[in-house]
């Protein structure tokens, strides 16, 4: 089945959008909107748009886009993880846990997203040592999305500081979601499927 018949834009078009976004985020968002006119049901486009909107601090529109991506393709696991992570960083812990819930059944034990979710659940419950342990385990097996490791490392450092430990300081980029999404889409279109 072709991408067009499958309501998905081509990988080449995705690559083109990513190239534009690398130069100019707003132009990248405009390119995504153009592509969405032809492929409104392509969850990857909504996911990428949501991730870029976070970088532009358009948080409400970003949440809408991420939610739409998950609705259109419940098996796009990275989008589901990022939706939950965005909700967590927005102070909506319950919503985050609900968004992540299907990941537990869908992913194999030991998958890095599975471990990250496990660690973040510990974090929400103020269990800092197990949180650090799970996040570290996830980072060790995550070979496909390096930017996510950066986010998790930052959380580990904050936990260590809270526990009275000192660690190397990681910088907070503020647009980790966009980098992570780009990394995912550059590396593989649907490796997680």
């Amino acid at each position: 089945m072709t991408d067009a018949l499958n309501n998905r834009c081509s990988d080449a078009q995705i690559q083109e959008i990513l190239a534009i976004s690398a130069q100019d985020t707003l132009a990248g968002i405009a390119a995504i909107d153009t592509a969405l006119r032809d492929f409104p049901k392509d969850a990857r486009l909504h996911f990428l748009k949501g991730s870029m909107l976070i970088g532009e601090k358009r948080f409400i529109a970003a949440h809408t886009a991420l939610r739409e991506a998950v609705r259109l393709d419940p098996e796009l696991h990275i989008a589901r993880f990022q939706l939950g992570f965005f909700e967590l960083t927005s102070g909506e812990a319950d919503a985050a846990l609900a968004s992540w819930q299907p990941l537990k059944a869908a992913l194999p034990a030991g998958h890095y997203l599975q471990l990250f979710v496990e660690g973040l659940e510990h974090l929400v419950a103020d269990r800092f040592a197990p949180c650090i342990e799970s996040l570290r385990a996830g980072m060790e097996v995550n070979a496909e999305n390096a930017p996510l490791n950066g986010d998790m490392q930052l959380i580990i450092e904050r936990c260590r500081e809270l526990l009275g430990e000192q660690g190397p300081t990681a910088s907070e980029s503020g647009d980790g979601e966009a980098v992570s999404a780009t990394s995912f889409l550059l590396g593989t279109s649907r490796r997680l499927n």
């Binding site: 601090k57 358009r58 948080f59 409400i60 529109a61 949440h63 965005f86 909700e87 967590l88 960083t89 927005s90 102070g91 909506e92 812990a93 510990h122 974090l123 929400v124 419950a125 103020d126 269990r127 800092f128 949180c131 959380i155 450092e157 904050r158 936990c159 500081e161 809270l162 300081t169």
Partner: protein, 252 residues
Amino acid sequence: MKQAVRQAVGRRAGLSLVVRPEREEAALWRRFHETHEGLLREGLFERYRRFARSLARRHARRSGLRQDLVEDLEQFAYRGLLEAIDRFDPVRGSTFLAFSSARIAGSIVDGLAQLDERGAQLRFRRQLERERLNSLTEGQSRGRSATEELSELVTELALGLMLSAQDRDAPSDFAGRSDNGFDSLAWHETRNVLGQRVEQLPEPERTVIRQHYLNDLLFSQIAAILGLSKGRISQLHKSALQKLRKSMKAFR
């Protein structure tokens, strides 16, 4: 990072480590925009209350307002803030602080105008009452006991109050207490009779009473209308109320 750690103390520490305030604020707006739930409105109000208060205080400082008016200004600012919360569209992209600033400032200015008007009304009301009292206490004595004089004065002042309340529906409106059905009926009946007695007053006393009590004109203004002195209006006022007192005594 240290700030995040400090914030973590005393509440859900783990969540505090990762929450970013600007995202949290946006989430609050998103949920409020979707549901218009009262608790979320209160959350937004609390989030921006200090901002509104600071605008009110800044306005008070710049305008050199008295300290006792600052609280009024804060209330006007809060009113503007609540209006802004209900009208703000968070999806459009502008920040709430930018959106609300003009509305809060507008509410302060509007409220200040009302405050000035109310202050003027209070001063005016006091002047009216002083004129009445002066008029009724002029030339007291003439062989009657102090108790008799005081009784008459109180009755005349009460009649004045009743005349002033002609446009109100119930005694509780000016008596400051709740009324029962009998009180209300008695009030309406007495008021109607009083209105009839006023219409039976000779001119120019009738005009003095009507303009002063029903249209809130000062004695000087009535004097200008009738071409009489202010002192003469005061005498006419006193005379008219004495007649009303006597006729209403017969009614009772």
